[in-house]
């Protein structure tokens, strides 16, 4: 197979890959936006940050 045909085939694969990725992220973004728009507002879960001044030298 000539090098030109191989390059063209690889280029098509790259284009399909890039377009697939763009399509995936586009759909994901739209779904996130729709979820945010139409779902009820939920309180974020409680989060406890790691204390900075805590004595971290105790053994497990």
């Amino acid at each position: 197979m000539p090098i030109g045909e191989i390059s063209a085939f690889l280029l098509v694969l790259v284009i399909v890959f890039v377009f697939g990725n763009l399509w995936f992220h586009f759909v994901e973004t739209m779904l996130q936006w729709l979820k945010k728009r139409f779902s009820h507002h939920k309180e974020p879960p409680t989060w406890h940050p790691l204390p900075q001044d805590e004595d971290n030298t105790r053994d497990i």
Binding site: G20, W23, F24, V27, P45, T46, W47, H48, P49, L50, P51, E54, N56, T57, R58, D59, I60
Partner: protein, 161 residues
């Protein structure tokens, strides 16, 4: 050790980093769980796999949730605290007392996760390994001894049908 010796030996555990993370896990656990020192700890994680089909693009997505898992032999209780790989914080604990759960068993396929059904509505599958290298996804901690102890506790004193 020569270059090839090091190459074939595989990845080595940074014990300094592992110990520091083990201490952070203990601090986080103790600040959210009452009498936290009565629990032994391991790191575990949950995997949420979902399939998607967006026209000509389809596949699966995996969400990883990091967990600090504590267990108390005397009260036969497992406590699960959600956290993040850098251990900068944690969420509220969930308690699974053997006398209150519906069932618990160790899965065989697709992963050998520790599965707990607190009731008929939901379940939690805890995956645990002695060490996971990927710091971006998992807490970097070496825990071979703790994992053996937890497996023994779960299989022999916690599992219920």
């Amino acid at each position: 050790m020569g270059f090839f010796g090091k190459l074939f030996k595989g990845p080595e555990i940074d014990m300094e980093k592992s110990n520091a993370n083990a201490k952070k896990m203990r601090v986080l656990f103790n600040q959210t769980v009452e009498d936290g020192d009565n629990y032994r700890l391991i790191f575990g994680y949950t995997e949420d796999v979902s399939r998607f089909n967006y026209g000509f693009v389809h596949g699966s997505k995996t969400k990883i949730g990091n967990l600090i898992v504590g267990w108390n032999e005397a009260s036969q209780t497992i406590v699960v605290v959600p956290t993040v790989p850098d251990l900068s914080g944690c969420g509220d604990p969930a308690y699974y007392c053997r006398s209150e759960i519906l069932k618990a068993y160790r899965n065989k396929y697709p992963t050998d996760a520790f599965v707990i059904y607190p009731d008929k509505k939901g379940y939690i599958g805890i995956n645990a390994y002695d060490w996971l290298e990927d710091e971006k996804l998992f807490v970097y901690v070496s825990q071979a001894e703790e994992l053996t102890a937890f497996t023994d506790f779960f299989m022999n004193r916690f599992a219920a049908k």
